[in-house]
């Protein structure tokens, strides 16, 4: 896949929150560039600032220091070409699955066309929720809810897809299936993906590159391209090359713990 130009650029990004009991630095001096159509996974211990990094990219927050730019323009507000899957499903409790998926159209443009509905139907099938179109979120299990959230983010076919642990609530089977489905989607209509995860195999299987963040304040302690070429499948993880790679990632995460 051709990587043309830069999609996302962090330069010297730091983020400090004011809390009730003082201030808390979540990110510190993060400088990373992500190329167009690149699939980058982010690993890091809980609370290190991964979600914060994603929020900054989405323009939902302004960095305390440094700057974030997307397609060469400084990010000062949310953009049209970015889709987000949140860590929590955050569905509309009063809308059924289909209405939740087409919600971006209704919300952004104020109307939902029959094409939108057809498109939604296709995505709902992709995420394995066919037959549940008319169910309310409260009638779904946690994993099913998260899949609706993913479908919603895909709905507008964004150039950049920001995913905050999208598969953590899914069962192993669905997780793998969704992972490969995501890869298929990504190859069919190329997108730049920033993918936060807690799973080393998942990162290794899906990404072009993996960023490892340190414990809070989050800094980039490693930026490693995945050694295997695409297309990948379940067996890809079995190669010694990949086993080493996964072990290296693991050691990076553990090393931090020891420090």
């Amino acid at each position: 896949m051709a990587l043309a130009g830069n999609a996302i650029n962090f330069s010297g990004v730091g983020q400090t929150f004011l809390t009730g009991t003082g201030s808390l630095t979540a990110l510190d001096g993060v400088s990373v560039t992500i190329a167009q159509h690149e699939f980058v996974a982010v690993l890091g211990p809980s609370g290190c600032g991964k979600s914060t990094l994603l929020r900054l990219t989405a323009g939902l927050m302004k960095p305390s220091t440094g700057s974030v730019s997307v397609f060469g323009l400084s990010v000062t507000q949310p953009r049209d070409d970015v889709g987000i899957v949140f860590q929590k499903p955050t569905l509309l409790p009063w809308a059924n699955v289909e209405d939740n998926v087409v919600f971006p159209a209704r919300h952004k443009l104020g109307r939902v066309t029959p094409e939108d509905r057809a498109q939604a139907q296709a995505i709902i099938e992709t995420v394995g929720l066919a037959g549940f179109e008319k169910r309310l979120p409260s009638e779904l299990s946690g994993g099913m809810q998260q899949r609706v959230g993913i479908a919603r983010a895909l709905f507008l076919n964004p150039d950049i897809l920001l995913m905050d642990e999208p598969f953590s609530a899914l069962d192993a089977l669905t997780r793998d299936m969704m992972g490969f489905e995501l890869l298929r989607l990504w190859q069919a209509s190329p997108k730049t993906v920033l993918f936060i995860t807690h799973s080393i195999p998942e990162a290794a299987l899906l990404a072009d590159r993996v960023l490892v963040l340190s414990e809070r304040p989050g800094r980039v302690i490693a930026d490693l391209p995945v050694p295997t070429s695409r297309p990948r499948d379940e067996t890809s993880l079995g190669t010694p090359e990949m086993q080493d790679y996964a072990a290296h990632l693991r050691s990076l995460l553990i090393r931090k713990e020891a420090a």
Binding site: G59, I84, W94, F103, H107
Partner: protein
């Protein structure tokens, strides 16, 4: 460890498993009673009526203090049916108009209060002021400025009923989960759609809580407005009958007034139940 024989009696709070799914039609009587929104209150009322009748008879309560239900019944005959309808319509019209105005005015105010702290700081005290001004004190201005038609009465009703709506709406609009607001911002949707498609639906339980309070206040407001300026209406009728010492007739008016409040309250409740079932707490759907 004690293990009760009758299991799960307190499970009203958990989702109800269909313990006997195939024979789901044999709903126990208690359940069926609960599902009828009319039977139970009716029984309560009948009981109270009987107690009331018995009490006034046993203690020989003079009817100028508290007439017995049977005497109140005669009070209804004091006025021809057509005249009752006129009175009821006068009060109902003002109450509904005032309620409508309250709703229409409260909505943008609540949106403003929820979205802007600047506005909130400036506006909230003003609302409290309007809410806390006793109507008698400002009646002269209202009447001189608005004349003696429905307008002053609607304004008075509004003044009395709008506040709970504003407070509940504002609380509700501010209670939306921040993630959904982020979703809206990330879509760069126009701000009014954040309101109409996310904040307002989320505020629905709060809004209905305010609407339930306000609807009864609207009836009270209409009555109070009739004390101040009217020649018709149930409130006027009650006050007038009292001043003529026609107490059973005044109490008949009171009964109608209460029935009106109950009815309107039920309409608001049922509107929520039928059109916004997801906004009801679990176990009340």
């Amino acid at each position: 460890m004690t293990v009760a024989d009758t299991p799960d009696t307190s499970s009203a709070k958990t989702p109800k498993p269909a313990t006997a799914a195939p024979s789901a039609k044999t709903v126990p009587l208690k359940e069926r009673l609960l599902r009828t929104p009319v039977a139970l209150p009716l029984m309560t009322f009948l009981l109270l009526l009987i107690l009331w009748e018995a009490g006034t008879r046993i203690f020989a309560v003079p009817s100028y203090i508290l007439p017995s239900p049977s005497r109140i019944l005669f009070g209804f005959e004091a006025v021809p049916a057509g005249r009752w309808v006129e009175h009821i319509w006068a009060t109902l019209r003002v109450a509904l108009l005032g309620y409508l105005v309250s709703f229409v005015v409260s909505l943008p105010i609540a949106v403003g209060l929820a979205k802007s702290r600047l506005l909130s700081g400036a506006l909230y005290p003003l609302l409290v002021v309007i809410q806390s001004v006793p109507v008698v004190a400002v009646a002269p201005i209202i009447i001189v400025v608005l004349g003696t038609g429905d307008a002053p009465r609607v304004v008075i009703t509004f003044m009395i009923s709008f506040f709970p709506l504003v407070v509940s709406m504002t609380t509700g609009l501010a209670a939306t989960p921040p993630e959904l607001i982020e979703l809206s911002r990330s879509l760069r949707a126009p701000s009014f759609r954040e309101i109409t498609q996310i904040r307002l639906p989320y505020a629905t339980p709060y809004i209905f809580s305010g609407m339930k309070i306000s609807i009864t206040l609207a009836v009270i407001g209409a009555v109070v407005s009739e004390f101040v300026a009217a020649e018709k209406g149930i409130g006027y009728f009650i006050q007038f009958s009292t001043s003529m010492f026609k107490l059973p007739q005044a109490w008949a008016g009171l009964v109608i007034l209460v029935a009106m409040s109950l009815l309107l309250f039920q309409i608001v409740s049922q509107t929520q139940r039928i059109f916004f079932p997801w906004s009801l707490p679990k176990g009340q759907k």
